[in-house]
Subunit: 349 residues, 2 copies
């Protein structure tokens, strides 16, 4: 847990796309901000939330999000690319305060892929849809020549609504004095993918946490209707998500290392591989910022759920060093926990 | 125009995905119907329309469609993958009777792609969005290793609404006696891609027709509020679209070969290459079925638009041979015009 590979060096302009542009950290942000935001400039996109909130007709708001999934391997301990594609999109909607309702899926299939594998993925997606309470309502399939793809890439788009007391949440709403909560152990998805790819012996005990987070979010919002932000920490992990919240909210965030929930097997694997679980992807966890007065009540509500039993209050929002995240280490010191720079593990989602 | 490569032989069950599964014809339908429809079974999906119509709240309907684009080459005469991705999705919404409003885009980028090419594509997408009157509101980027993708694949998802007199149209609504109209010349997009790929000398005069079809659809619906069906004939072309309408509506369709609008350059290229323009993709054209009484009025309205000047009434809906399409040839005979079977041209969209 002590080694961080987040590089603080400035990142120059690239002529060609590199793997790090897909890592979910500073290079990814640079690509989006230099290529896509200028081209498509509009208010919704400029907010850089994980989901967009649209007004379709006066009074009718809908949450929309889209994600491409290129995870490798496509089957891994705890899940597969199909389950990940459904949960990733559902969780973006849920993190934004919405109830996930509908999903679409487009498949880019490499010639030669086993039809049986595709069927297994489709069944897994249906199961994940049922678990999340969403219907798959539209789809598309394309096929590319052998060697021009990698088995299957899946892009899912989700639609959500804000019934009753629900409202769009923003990563720009954290305030000094708030507390930071995580609903589960850190890095489970990223380390499971990494171990599966390396064929490491301990891979059987390292399982992805991939799951829909709707019930966790409902517990948080029921216990604390005034919750500030929620986000699922995928690419770039917990540390990158906190940096996004700190930057958007113009606040500082300080977390306490000993409070960070990490499974012992994950900690061991990270130690061995020189990885930091704070930068590894999760796929079934929420990072939430809540007012201090509600924090213990939210923690109890989340811990009462099967997927929330490892939840922990791990830090606080401060009014100094706006836009940055620091960690109080076990030895009493404090160090920066910057946004992930490049690409530690490619294709984790 | 006389050679058809649509194979009438039955298609067996495949263990592995072949390129033809992406061709948009019978093999594509087989893949969707054997793998995806059973897994995701629900009423919206079972309708197999190009777009789904959802009821988000009582009285609030939204049209949704999704499409993956893997066209090769990514830049071609008349357009590029970005323009195609915006127009393809907009046109699915428009074909279903909706007004296109919002779009999302997810990019799967191959390591090593030129950032300048990505910027050019993003600018082209923005221009197409402006032309179509839609905003791009959410996006995602992923990067895969060199040799695991092919420069860039783009998946777009579109949202549309049905303001005023608009209503969802269905391919199941054609009735005997109706007339069939096409708004432009056949096969322009498919032949432009094919020529560009082969590096043929005439490629400069063969331009894709890729464009948003919103104005064409508005002209049709204004002239004929009772229009039965509209669809943009992409993969599988005009012939496959007519077969989809014939099957869904349980009617026969007869078209007249000499009435089919085909550019002379396209006809020449097809003759040389042994292709039939009726099976080649369009990307800025609508096939519409309208009541006979309105047909001439619709034709005049469409022809008044710049993109509709080659529009033609090309056939009629009959109450015999339900589910099939026939063509009256120039020599007076009649032959079947079946659904595209396999894959004449891969990766045209």
């Amino acid at each position: 847990m002590s080694v961080t590979f987040a590089c603080p060096a400035p990142i120059g302009r690239h002529d060609r796309v590199v793997l790090g542009h897909g890592g979910g950290g500073r290079l990814s942000a640079e690509l989006v901000e230099s290529v896509f935001v200028p081209a498509f400039r509009n208010d919704v996109l400029a907010a850089l939330e994980d989901q967009a909130t649209l007004t379709l007709e006066p009074g009718v708001r809908v949450a929309v999000t889209t994600d491409a999934f290129v995870v490798e391997p496509i089957f891994f301990p705890g899940g597969d690319i199909g389950r990940l594609a459904v949960c990733g999109t559902v969780n973006n909607l849920v993190g934004g305060g919405a109830i996930a309702r509908f999903i679409t899926a487009a498949f880019v299939i490499e010639e030669g892929m086993l039809v049986a594998d595709l069927e297994r993925i489709a069944r897994s997606m249906r199961a994940a849809c049922d678990e999340a309470g969403v219907s798959l309502v539209a789809g598309d399939t394309k096929v590319v020549e052998r060697g021009k793809g990698d088995q299957v890439f899946i892009t899912t788009t989700g639609l959500g609504t804000y019934p009753g007391m629900r409202r769009p949440l923003s990563v720009a709403a954290a305030r000094p004095g708030d507390r930071v909560l995580v609903t589960g152990t850190l890095g489970d998805h990223g380390i499971a993918i990494h171990a599966a790819r390396l064929g490491l012996a301990f891979e059987t005990v390292l399982q992805s946490d991939v799951a829909p987070v709707g019930k966790l979010a409902a517990a948080i919002l029921d216990a604390c209707p005034d919750a500030r932000c929620m986000r699922d920490p995928t690419r770039g992990g917990f540390a990158t998500t906190l940096n996004e919240i700190a930057a958007a909210s113009r606040v500082g965030i300080v977390v306490t290392e000993r409070d960070l929930p990490v499974q012992p097997e994950v900690a061991n694997a990270c130690e061995m591989l020189g990885l930091d679980p704070a930068y590894l992807a999760n796929a079934g966890t929420i990072v939430a910022v809540v007012p201090a007065a509600d924090a213990e009540r939210v923690l109890a509500a989340v811990r009462a759920l099967p997927r929330g039993r490892d939840a922990a209050l791990v830090g606080e929002v401060v009014d100094t060093r706006a836009g940055t995240v620091a960690v109080r280490s076990n030895n009493g010191g404090e160090r920066a926990l910057p946004m992930l720079a490049g690409e530690p593990l490619s294709r984790v989602c």
